[in-house]
Amino acid sequence: MSQATLQRRPLVKEILTGADDNLLVIGGLGSSNWDITNAGDRPLNMPLWGAMGAPVGMGLGLAIAQPTKRVLVITGDGDMLMSLGSLATVAAQSPDNLAICVLDNEKFGETGNQATHTSPRNNGPTDSGAGTDLALIARGCGIADCGTVTAKGDVAQLVKDLRMKKGPIFRLVKVMVEKLEFVMPPQDGAHLKDRFRQALLGRP
């Protein structure tokens, strides 16, 4: 059983408080998408409904194309586990405007809360994982500024780091397993892309 005490919805809301035109947000499929949308749907959010494994790469391409904007990727442990190599690719490019925040509840939420590899070992017959530490992996990939947040008292610093600290930074946040309402943004991918570009570039 995860010992996490942080709740993802108020946490993401705090991370995105006062988001302005300088903040470009990619949200991974499933819970992270609903989380960023719950904080307030906005054109400069790119919430994914699929494309598992894509958010870190998308954040990287965007960060390189828009070096004066802050790019924030918010995704889950299942999504991150599917694209570990992309952390090495980020490290190789080292964009100073990219922050990656992984909300780790040690579960594949969308498919019924099966354990991911970040779940502890010896955690019962159906909930055991490998105790995989994604922050350690990110560090090992060459992202120098990595950290893990588990306590409410560290959230204010987390928000500050994600919004302003020189990138690339990686933060792993241990969050509770919760049953939450789906808060859905528009689904059409072409529309989401066009509204993002319209807001950022003034053309779709």
Binding site: L24, I26, M46, G50, A51, M52, G53, A54, P55, V56, G57, M58, G59, L60, G61, L62, A63, I64, A65, Q66, K69, S83, G85, S86, A88, T89, A92, Q93, G189, A190, L192, K193, F196, R197, L200, L201
Partner: protein, 171 residues
Amino acid sequence: MKDWRDDIFEVFQDHDIKQVYHVPDAGHSRLIEACQKSNSVRTLALTTEEEGIAIAAGAWLGGQRSALLMQSSGVGNTINMVGLTRTLRFPFLTLITMRGDYGEFNSWQYPMGQGTPKVLEAMGMLLYSVDKAEDVKATVDAAARSAFQGGQSVAVLLRQKLIGIKTFGKK
């Protein structure tokens, strides 16, 4: 001496391609080096080809054009992510050096090489194919127009007849 790989680099310049993604590849190596040496192109080495599609989507969101260089054996790694080019409807260009194609000596290359055009077509990608050096420039230029002006997801197959048959030093 100028060759078709230099022609591709010129097309990239003509179409204002700003990001180029690749995995190590003998067929593309001269082009990759030209991109690495260029000040106007950001060259990104990938750990797996599918990263290139996600990064290309991000680049387009940010207003930059890109191209993914890969081998036919890498195409199989990308298929689910190719769906992203359709779902978001963003212009996407990839150049694929073919293996398991014309006179291939390595049996391990055939399954994905022969499957490459079929799986890309199944994913709705527009395919161009070129097997003569003198046709490379015009073909890649047409493909780039289809992508960046026509809004399509486009692959150019650089056939093994064009690239030459890898022999591991044997004749």
